[in-house]
């Protein structure tokens, strides 16, 4: 059965091919069926594989299929190898299942768009590449998926290509992530030149033998890998592309820029855990990147006025949590948060998409409001999603996953109280902006007419996601609540278990849980009060901090800084050198030759007798020379 | 008999000087004939009768005739035949030719021509060499002549001005 695993990525590709080649002859309905069908079957296959792993695991808890020899050289064999293990399966299941749901949602959401088929073709292509990414068994194949999803991200952000700003956002996304890709590429080269293989499993097996713990090479490799992850996952300092990426259709933001592609960095670091563990200082860098990102992005999310940008910054912030978790060695925690985040963020984006569609494509939250009564389904699902995001205690999956990360940060030797405090501060900020979003969009007075209500399929998808977001946290429950660790157990075969739990910490755990819950709940309540009561305090705060708000609104000035420091100098350089300085040398040579030509050609007077005199004089000179010798 | 050589040489030089100094083309040509003939005599003296004959026949004969033909074709208005036949024209070349003739007679009267160092090289020897080791050169020379022929016959055609640009405006005069 496991030999069929190649079908999982192959099916979406088949869908893509059909949709591309037969684009003109397919009706929208058929196109949607093909797109959803292929991804759906992939999802079923993935779930089947998971079931297989649970009841009848393959040897070593991993299965590899070699499709064909890709780059067979004497000194290096790269095959088209697909491999599944627990980690890949977790990723793949989220990709296919959430992907399927989003496909389903899009089949309704995108109705009427003239490029309906193209949209689904890209979406299928994306799912295919993403599955390759997580199932690749060597770095070359990983890069194939890695860059492939980047391509799809580019295509889908710039899906409405007639607007130049969409094209700009798309290019920005591609180029910024490519900077990270180069870092990853160099990491791959370094790994190859040190270890002589590109096979992931071999690399992980060889690395501890070749590199001592704390060795410089391991440190450099880890940081380079981190560079790749940072680009893809929109972490500091390469986070600037993600808010702009919201130019794409909303389902795309849900699938690519919230649930799946941006978590590729998390996957990469989790996959390469063996290398990171060799370099604790690199791990700390990962944790630091995560922490700083989660705080800065959270602050930026606080002040955004575009609903999708709020969600985008919150995505960056939540990814920061995952990086923090990775940085302290809480592998399973990171993946747990990845899963829950995929559900609730997809939910939030899809719901936001429906809100936007309902309000004549209005994206500014200050012009929304009062939707609670008019769009109840949207309201409740959105609230469910936001509650997960804010990690409301007990009832949401976000609570469990974030709690796990906080706890791991606290007890991990790489973490500690400082990281924990930053994370708790981040949680507070998250609670603030999630609540703010709800208050502004669904409460207060209506400012825009509702023109369009979500259809059956959309509502179905939203409800499914909302339910799952609320109860999905049950697969991993803190120790003091009954100690359920389904996900960790499943993952244990692929990546090391989370931070070892020293016995006798139950009291600490209780205290931390209570503190976190109190802070989050307090934050939510405070915001509700602030926005619900019409208190003058809100106006006062906003007046006092207008400068800070502007700064945060622009994403901490990163865009401006990069523009001034990198983009403009390079553009300037290329503009002044447009005619190629080296060619200038040639032009100088040419003009020298031309000047010489004019000088010499004045001697050519057209008088035969003078030429004869010249010839005679020359002959005379030669003869005299001969005589003198 | 070296003195003969020197006399002929002197004649050659005088004639040549006149060629380049004489203002009239026809006079100059006549002096040139003298010069050529005297060179031919020198050839004869140094034991090269074959080339002496060639010098007379081809140079003094054919080539000079060509020159004269051209002068005739150009047909200068002031230089008619009567003009050409004036005494002054005759005087210089005539004197020189006479001197030349005298020397020739004196030279031939000397008797057997070849003595001392110079060996007469017979025409047959020249012919054998020409059609032996120099065969390729002879063929090349033939080609050269052919191309000269083609070239001159092509250059001569000026009816349509096909070769050169038409003179522009007042430049032609």
């Amino acid at each position: 059965m496991y030999d069929l695993l190649w079908l999982i990525p192959a099916l979406p590709f088949v869908g893509f091919l059909i949709l591309t080649l037969a684009a003109r002859s397919l009706s929208q309905r058929v196109a949607a069926v093909i797109a959803c069908g292929t991804v759906g079957v992939s999802a079923v296959l993935t779930l089947g594989m998971i079931a297989g792993f649970l009841w009848n695991p393959p040897a070593d808890y991993a299965h590899t299929v070699t499709l064909w020899q890709w780059m067979p050289l004497n000194s290096l064999e790269i095959a088209f190898n697909l491999r599944i293990d627990a980690l890949s399966l977790v990723m793949a299941s989220v990709i296919t299942v959430v992907g399927f749901l989003i496909h389903l949602y899009s089949s309704e959401y995108m109705q009427g768009d003239e490029a309906y088929t193209r949209f689904f073709a890209y979406l299928n292509l994306f799912v295919g590449f993403m599955l390759i990414l997580v199932m690749a068994d060597n770095f070359a194949l990983l890069l194939l998926g890695w860059e492939g999803v980047g391509l799809c991200s580019y295509l889908l952000i710039g899906f409405w290509y007639q607007k130049p700003e969409n094209g700009f956002a798309a290019r920005k996304a591609f180029v910024v992530t490519r900077i990270g890709d180069v870092s990853l590429l160099v990491a791959v080269f370094l790994i190859f030149s040190e270890l002589g293989t590109l096979q992931l499993s071999e690399v992980l097996a060889l690395a501890p033998d070749r590199w001592a713990e704390g060795s410089t090479t391991a440190w450099v490799v880890s940081l380079l890998l981190l560079g790749g992850a940072v680009g893809k996952s929109a972490q500091l300092p390469l986070q600037t592309w993600l808010p702009d990426a919201m130019a794409g259709p909303t389902p795309v933001s849900a699938l690519i820029h919230a649930a799946t592609m941006v978590t590729a960095g998390v996957y990469l670091i989790a996959r390469m855990h063996g290398i990171f563990e060799l370099s604790p200082s690199a791990m700390t860098v990962v944790a630091l990147v995560g922490t700083v990102t989660l705080l800065t992005a959270g602050c930026a999310a606080l002040v955004q006025s575009d609903i999708k940008r709020v969600l985008a910054y919150s995505t960056i912030s939540q990814l920061g949590y995952m990086f923090l978790a990775l940085g302290v060695g809480a592998w399973a925690g990171a993946l747990f948060h990845f899963m829950t985040h995929a559900w609730f963020k997809a939910l939030l984006f899809l719901a936001a998409g429906s809100v936007i569609a309902a309000l004549h494509h209005e994206q500014n939250i200050h012009r929304m409001g009062g939707l609670r009564k008019r769009l109840p389904v949207l309201f409740w699902t959105f609230v469910a999603g936001a509650a997960c995001l804010a990690a409301l205690p007990l009832v949401t999956s976000g609570f469990y996953s974030k709690e796990k990360i906080l706890w791991d940060v606290w007890i991990s030797p790489l973490g500690g109280p400082w990281f924990w405090s930053a994370a708790i501060l981040g949680a507070l900020i998250t609670a603030l902006y999630s609540t703010r979003l709800i208050m502004l969009v669904f409460f207060g007075e209506a400012k825009t007419e509702v023109s369009h209500r979500p259809g059956k399929r959309s509502s179905f998808v939203l409800i499914v996601l909302a339910v799952w977001s609320l109860i999905g946290g049950g697969i991993e429950v803190p120790h003091n609540f009954g100690h359920l660790t389904l996900l960790s157990n499943f993952l244990e075969t692929a990546i090391p278990a989370s931070v070892e739990l020293p016995p006798g910490l139950d009291l600490q755990l209780w205290i931390l849980l209570l503190v976190a819950s109190a802070i989050v709940t307090g934050g939510v309540l405070a915001t509700v009060w602030l926005y619900g009561s019409g208190s003058p305090l809100r106006q006062k705060i906003s007046d006092r901090t207008s400068g800070l708000q502007r700064f945060w609104l622009g994403g901490w000035g990163f865009d401006t800084a990069y523009d001034r420091l990198l983009v403009q100098p390079i553009v300037w350089l290329s503009q002044i050198n447009r005619r190629d300085g080296v060619d200038g040398l040639c032009r100088v040579a040419v003009s020298l030759g031309r000047t010489g030509h004019f000088l010499l050609s004045t001697t050519q007077q057209g008088r035969l007798r003078r030429y004869a005199i010249g010839i005679s004089a020359g002959a005379l000179a030669l003869l005299i020379l001969m005589l003198l010798q | 008999m070296n003195w003969m050589f020197y006399i002929v040489a002197a004649i050659t030089l005088i004639a040549t000087v006149r060629v380049i100094t004489h203002p009239n083309v026809v006079y100059a040509l006549l002096y040139f004939v003298v010069s050529l003939l005297s060179v031919a005599l020198i050839f004869y003296m140094i034991g090269a009768p074959f080339v002496a004959a060639l010098e007379v026949i081809i140079y003094a004969g054919a080539i000079l005739v060509l020159f004269l033909f051209v002068i005739m074709m150009l047909n200068f208005r002031e230089e008619h035949e009567t003009h050409w036949l004036r005494k002054r024209i005759w005087a210089g070349p005539g004197v020189l030719c006479a001197a030349l003739l005298a020397v020739t007679i004196a030279f031939i009267a000397q008797g057997p021509m070849v003595s001392g160092f110079y060996r007469t090289i017979e025409p047959s020897e020249v012919g054998n060499a020409l059609f032996g080791p120099y065969l390729i050169a002879v063929q090349l020379a033939a080609l050269l002549l052919l191309s000269g022929l083609v070239g001159s016959s092509h250059l001569r055609r000026h009816e349509r001005g096909s070769l050169l640009r038409k003179p522009e405006g007042g430049d032609s005069q």
Binding site: T20, W68, Q69, W70, M71, P72, L73, N74, S75, L76, F80, A140, L143, L144, G145, W146, E147, G148, L151, Y154, L155, G158, Y161, Q162, K163, P164, G167, F168, A170, R171, F174, V175, R178, I179, D181, V182, L185, V186, V188, F189, L190, F192, S193, I570, V571, L573, S574, Q575, N577, R578, D580, V582, D583, L585, C586 | -
Partner: protein
């Protein structure tokens, strides 16, 4: 005589084209197509032929000027096979794209086209250095005419510039070849231009260095490597589409081929001396070409500068001197031929439709011609080295192989990939995205055009996903070229000694 036939085919075809065009233009085109088609089929027939004991698939040798030790000597190995196949393939496409775009002096056009190809095939086959030089020069003149007669507005400048650069470098090559032959004569007492014999010559280090430099510069100009690249942009942008395709697709490859076939094996020690500098040149070329490409407003010029950038990788791969990087070089040469050829074809199609190459006058073509846009998108992606296309395999293997030798330089070269993304996407954005400007009518691709681009697309994807046939064919020759001859000699001697 099969190899000679391979050269004679386009030769004779070209002459025949010229003669028949007077009576029937269509016949002329069909003859060109046929000649190249047969050539391609003929070449591919040797794909799995297996090589002889000395590494050559096929060898032919006829005495030509015996007193100077010059032979008409042709040899085919996997490397030449690949490049010849590429030559014929792109030649075929060039005939096809000229089908409707060239109407002036059609016969002479095809004559030139086929003679360039004949010269190129000769270059890839010749193993007598004198003969190699003969073909090397022979491909230049028809190219000069092709640019000079059928080019765009500034064609004379471009043609002369192209000619001067290649001639000057050709002169260096000639000097180096003669110098090598004489050096060999001094050593062995035998004047020969036979590649196989010259391989063994052991030169004085200084002489070796200077001779190597002659070869190296000649090939670097053709490649073109960084300081010698300036002819390329003019030649490419002014040439007719078919000319650009041949130039970018094939002619540039003769430089890479020359480096692999001649510079490294003939002068192993001197090449090792120069290797870091060559790699540096490659890196500068990659980044500098990209920088230039980004600033251009002329579509063809932009694509031309991307060639400079891409060919920098070749220099990297050749001089990193290991299996991985050199296999990458071979793939990169083929993939670049296909992808850049395709981009030039696209530029040609656009030019035929709107009669300008100015990027500022383009925009929104995706709405008008979606199929054209889709192909352009693909080839832009290929040009930025997206995995799944042959370019990725090439660049990946080159960088992978080079990294061990030159870590910092390779890292710099890798940043060229970012630059590639910038300019490739810039093309797509500028030409195809946005709103269509003035109400231009832009017919979408017709069947022939679609066929041409589909062939190129399939080639690139095939190369990207299943490059194995190419790698297998190239493996043997590259192995042989990397091993200095004296090593081989010692090995065989040891084998013979062993009972």
């Amino acid at each position: 005589m099969t190899l000679a036939t391979l050269i004679a085919l386009p030769f004779a075809g070209g002459l025949l084209c010229w003669l028949t065009a007077r009576y029937s233009v269509a016949a002329c085109r069909w003859i060109a197509l046929l000649a190249l088609g047969i050539g391609l089929a003929w070449t591919l027939a040797y794909w799995n032929h297996g090589s002889g004991p000395d590494g050559w698939i096929l060898e032919e040798k006829i005495s030509w000027i015996p007193s100077l030790g010059i032979h008409f000597q042709l040899s085919l190995d996997g490397l030449s096979l690949l490049l010849i196949a590429l030559t014929f393939f792109l030649g075929l496409l060039s005939v096809l794209i000229s089908w409707h775009s060239i109407h002036e002096r059609v016969g002479f056009f095809h004559f030139n086209l086929l003679w360039i190809l004949a010269g190129t095939v000769g270059v890839f086959l010749a193993t007598d250095l004198f003969l190699f030089f003969f073909f090397w020069e022979m491909m230049v003149l028809p190219m000069f005419l092709l640019i000079g007669i059928w080019g765009h507005a500034n064609r004379n400048y471009a043609a002369v510039k192209f000619f001067l650069f290649t001639q000057a470098s050709g002169l260096l090559l000639l000097v180096a070849i003669v110098g090598l032959a004489f050096a060999h004569q001094q050593q062995t007492g035998q004047l020969t231009f036979d590649y196989n014999q010259l391989l063994g010559s052991q030169l004085q280090p200084l002489a070796e260095f200077w001779l190597m430099l002659g070869f190296f510069i000649a090939f670097a100009v053709k490649l073109p490597a960084f300081p010698f690249h300036t002819w390329l942009a003019d030649a490419h942008s002014e040439a007719p589409t078919a000319g650009s395709v041949i130039l970018a697709g094939i002619l540039l490859k003769t430089g890479g081929y020359g480096l692999l076939r001649f510079v490294l094996p003939l002068f192993p020690d001197a090449s090792e001396t120069i290797a870091p500098y060559a790699v540096l040149m490659g890196v500068i070329g990659i980044l500098y070409g990209a920088l230039l490409a980004f600033a251009q407003t002329d579509l063809k010029r932009l694509i031309a500068y991307t060639s400079v950038s891409h060919m920098g990788f070749i220099l990297l791969g050749v001089f990193a001197w290991n299996e991985v990087s050199q296999q990458g070089t071979v793939i990169q040469m083929i993939a670049h031929g296909l992808s850049t050829g395709a981009l030039f074809i696209l530029a040609g199609f656009i030019y035929e439709r709107i009669h300008t190459r100015d990027l500022d006058q383009m925009g929104g073509f995706r709405t008008l011609a979606p199929r054209l846009a889709a192909f352009a998108l693909f080839f832009a992606m290929a040009s930025l080295g997206l995995p799944g296309t042959g370019n990725f395999i090439g660049e990946f293997l080159i960088l992978l192989g080079t990294f061990r030798e030159h870590m910092v330089l390779t890292t710099l070269a890798a940043t060229g990939l970012v630059a590639a993304a910038v300019y490739s996407l810039w093309i797509v954005q500028k030409v195809f995205h946005g709103k269509p400007g003035k109400t231009q009518s832009l017919p979408d691709l017709n069947r022939m055009e679609t066929l041409i681009l589909t062939l190129l697309l399939l080639g690139l994807v095939g190369l990207g996903l299943y490059p194995r046939p190419v790698l297998d064919v190239a493996a043997g020759p590259l192995e042989a070229l990397r091993t200095p001859v004296y090593v081989t000699a010692v090995e065989t001697a040891l084998k013979e000694d062993a009972p």
